[in-house]
């Protein structure tokens, strides 16, 4: 099986690709010219600005949405998770709009970016967090967070001034606001969980 990582220019995808390679998964970096049909899963990586990322994926948008309808798995990480939603306070442009809700900024009272290690608390049954019961440390670097309209997709939360959704899942769609590729042993397990689920 092969995974596609969507390239939107600015982001540093080296670590993300390396983390899948360590799980013995081959990852192909794809840009707007390519089809997505042959991939088992699509990874949306996560560094940069919402508006510029939206512009970069514009041409791939329909291909991504078609693949998802056909059952291809998608995993959005950090900004990639935010792109699963429709709009963001960070700037103009429409995300993929797979999930209802809005991406908003942390309260002004908090230091942004929210950067460093913070706790993820599992909520309900989650595939990504299936081996974890209690809170786990994960690495974050972001200034905005998604506010899903449907609480049922929230599978993990983190507190930083407010409690926000740090893990979302529904069907073949997954997202983490933290960086699993930078979250040590916990992140490794999250990636393994995703890969094993895709493989089944």
């Amino acid at each position: 099986m092969e995974l596609a990582v969507i390239d939107y220019g600015a982001s540093n995808m080296f670590s993300l690709i390396a983390s899948f390679n360590r799980a013995n998964i081959h990852v192909k970096v794809v840009d707007e010219s390519e089809g997505l049909g042959r991939y088992s899963a699509i990874i949306l990586p996560g560094v940069g600005n919402f508006t510029s990322a939206v512009q970069k994926i514009e041409k791939l948008k329909n291909k991504i949405l078609d693949s998802i309808v056909k059952g291809t798995f998608i995993f959005g990480i950090c900004l990639g998770m935010q792109l699963l939603f429709g709009e963001s306070e960070e700037g103009d442009g429409k995300g993929l709009g797979i999930f209802d809700g809005k991406v908003v900024r942390f309260p002004r009272t908090m230091k942004v970016p929210h950067m460093g290690w913070n706790l993820v608390k599992p909520k309900g049954y989650s595939l990504l967090l299936s081996n974890f019961r209690g809170e786990m440390w994960a690495y974050f670097a972001h200034s905005y967070y998604p506010k899903p309209s449907n609480d049922a997709i929230i599978k993990g939360t983190t507190c930083y001034g407010i409690e926000f959704a740090s893990v979302v899942e529904e069907g073949n769609i997954f997202g983490t606001q933290f960086h699993p590729e930078k979250s040590g042993e916990f992140g490794r397990q999250v990636i393994r969980n995703f890969v094993e689920y895709v493989r089944r």
């Binding site: 540093n12 929210h114 290690w117 706790l119 930078k182 979250s183």
Partner: protein, 255 residues
């Protein structure tokens, strides 16, 4: 809950090998970067810093190679600094897999470059390293040095810290030149002065020799993270021991 206080081992890299300096000179060899990086990761390091201490033109390609090898195996964030002279240098390091770059001399000589880098790659990956020394030439009593602590700049360390925050630095790596390599403890006065006057995280560096020193830097020094080198290299304490001590003392750490 806010973010955990971080423990950051520092690896000084000289031509592909990790060494430990004392007062930025007298180098002693200590090991292979990839090997040490994974050992620290397994012991519970929250992040790593690599400093290319020779930073000659010839050592650059070796450094990019080290960065790439480290990024292939390491799944915690890491910063690379030392000898970054241009946006191009910074880009090469980030492209090879580093999460953050640390700049020092270049920031002092061309402050606008901090703004440019921050705009381009985001504040989260721009660390400005400030090497400060107690002198009588500036109003706070702490003066900025560059070129591996060899050149006095007659710039006040406090004013400079505020300025780099304004320019878009995401973090400050603050080294006390007086304490570096002494294991006598961090300069708490310097650390708390800078930490209380900027809103971005401050990493205390220089002088950490015991878990208690690290505790002091994170509490009295108000630092968000503590950097240490030799106490971890020579296994005087493991990172886990330090973190367990901090936890007992009521500091929020990732354990």
């Amino acid at each position: 809950m806010t973010v955990a206080k971080r423990i950051i081992p520092c690896l000084d890299v000289d031509n592909g090998k990790v060494v430990k300096g004392k007062h930025f000179v007298e180098l002693k060899e200590a090991g292979d970067p990839v090997e040490l990086a994974t050992r620290y990761r397994d012991e519970g390091a929250d992040e790593l810093v690599f400093l290319d201490i020779t930073a000659t033109v010839e050592s650059r390609d070796t450094l990019y190679d080290v960065v790439k090898k480290v990024a292939e195996v390491l799944d915690i964030p890491f910063t690379v600094g030392g000898g970054i002279r241009s946006i191009e240098d910074a880009y090469k390091i980030l492209r090879n897999g580093a999460d953050k770059i640390s700049i020092n001399t270049m920031a002092v000589e061309k402050p606008e470059i901090v703004r440019e880098l921050s705009k381009k790659y985001g504040a989260q990956c721009i660390v400005v390293a400030i090497d400060a020394k107690r002198t009588y030439r500036t109003s706070s009593g702490f003066e900025v040095y560059t070129h591996g602590a060899r050149v006095a700049r007659n710039i006040d360390a406090l004013e400079w810290a505020k300025r780099v925050e304004e320019l878009g630095a995401g973090e400050i790596l603050l080294t006390s030149i007086d304490r570096d390599g002494t294991k006598e403890g961090y300069d708490l006065e310097l650390t708390s002065l800078i930490s209380s006057n900027v809103k971005i995280p401050v990493i205390a560096s220089g002088g950490g020799g015991t878990p208690k020193h690290i505790y002091e830097a994170l509490t009295f020094g108000k630092a968000d993270a503590a950097l240490a080198a030799s106490i971890f290299h020579y296994r005087e304490y493991t990172i886990r021991e330090v973190k367990e001590y901090l936890k007992r003392m009521g500091v929020a750490v990732r354990l």
